[in-house]
């Protein structure tokens, strides 16, 4: 029987971190906050339709957009109303979460 440690170690390490769940730490606060965005922006921010996607955007971009929506400097239909529900710290958690996907 041939022994192939590199592959096993790779799979093992991959399992420790599967997106928003890690066997070491559980579900993160960032995942909890961000998952509520996906009803409009699609799972993991991958929007299949007319609503802009979040997936693939940088943390800076997301953070700036939410901050600007919140203070009204960026016009929106509904995002201003949503962004007002989050603190600076929560915006950072959301931005970091989506940019890590």
């Amino acid at each position: 029987m041939q022994y192939k440690p590199p592959l096993q170690i790779f799979i093992f390490l991959s399992l420790i971190h599967v997106g928003n769940f890690s066997l070491a730490a559980g579900i993160t606060a960032g995942a909890m906050l961000s998952n509520s965005c996906s009803a409009c922006h699609g799972t993991d921010g991958k929007s299949p339709g007319a609503i802009p996607g979040i997936y693939g955007k940088s943390a800076d971009f997301i953070s700036q957009a939410l901050t600007d929506f919140r203070n009204g400097s960026r016009k929106s239909t509904v995002m201003g109303r949503h962004a007002k529900g989050y603190t600076d710290e929560e915006i950072k958690l959301i931005a970091d979460y989506f940019s890590s996907l």
Binding site: I11, G26, C40, T43, A50, I51, H82
Partner: protein, 427 residues
Amino acid sequence: MNTLNRRKFIKLIGHTGAALTVMSALPSCSKTSARVVVVGGGFGGATCAKYLNKFDPNLSITLIEPALKFTTCPFSNAVLGGMRELSSITHGYGVHEKRGINIIHAMVTGIDASNKKVTLDTGKTINYDRLVLSPGIDFKWDAIEGMQASDALTIPHAWQGGNQTALLSNQLKNMRNGGVVVIAPPGNPFRCPPGPYERASLIAHYLKQHKPESKILILDAKEKFSKQPLFMQGWQQRYSGMIEWVSGNSGGRIERIDVKNRTLHSEMGEKYTADVINYIPPQKAGAIAHTAGLVNNDGWCPVNQRTFESTMQPDIYIIGDASIAGKMPKSGFAANSQGKVCAAAIVSAINGFKMPEPSYVNTCYSLVAPDYGISVAAVYRYNKDKGIYKVKGSGGVSPKDADAEFRKLEARYAAGWYDSITFDTFG
């Protein structure tokens, strides 16, 4: 890597002795084969099953839903308005199956909470470690005289998607020009608070094109309704004189329906005869919640609003319209949001992790016309004293003074929302 489940993991590395060493070095791995059974494949249940799998791919998840395909209530008013086909709002469970979620098409007829098993109408029983119920609504048919469940074939409620939507749609198509359509919404709380008024709007959109002499009469049990100023403004702009709303105290509250003569009698003695009646009965939690003894005196399910675990039975969770969820409305969006929080609560409990503080969102788009959308939104949090509460300063309705471009953009986003939430729930 999200799709790499435990079986595949073992298969990949299982041919070496190292596999056992790796598995035993990680005690939390062996904990995650817990059996979670989810009953009800709508916005709550299908979302919960998907996110349970996403949070912990090693769980053994079973989703039990009688229908092979699920036809949504959201956008069913667009079917009545002639803007969509039913097939475009119907979704299957193929993607869930591909994820390794076990799908059973059957009706749950009983829950044995002490032995932790559910019984199906096929006679089969299924054991669970945690049970999630997302049974939606059932109707209080005894709320008025003259109507019973079987009369819904003549007087459709169309408040559950699918055949009921098709029935009402056909009645509208067969109605004469100059006919009267009555929509009779219930008092609070009920599924989809803005729904009856979006329905009036999109039926008016259909009638305006095909039967312009017709009228819509809303006989309401309530004194006010969701997004009322915005709806009324839209009706004035688009359907002037076509839609009349009668509040409960002005004769809108119905106490009897004469099904044969299509006549409604209000508690104040008024009589309304209609060509098409859409009576939406008062509601309660879906039948299985009653059978299992999980409801309060009002017919809804009290839950710990942080986790959605029943306050009446341990290890049973109730999400969506059937649950009492603080300030959140009964909506598909709310059910989707609750499904994720509940999945996080269950995965955290099973694995012995601290659950992050829950965060919930709701957004309800309504179409006044195909190019005229309005919305209401809010962000919600939980605390022990208030339960689920709206974050101060967040949310609210679309501005009253918005221009046509704004309304058009919200109509576009309404369709985009539908694509996204059905992807997030079924995809």
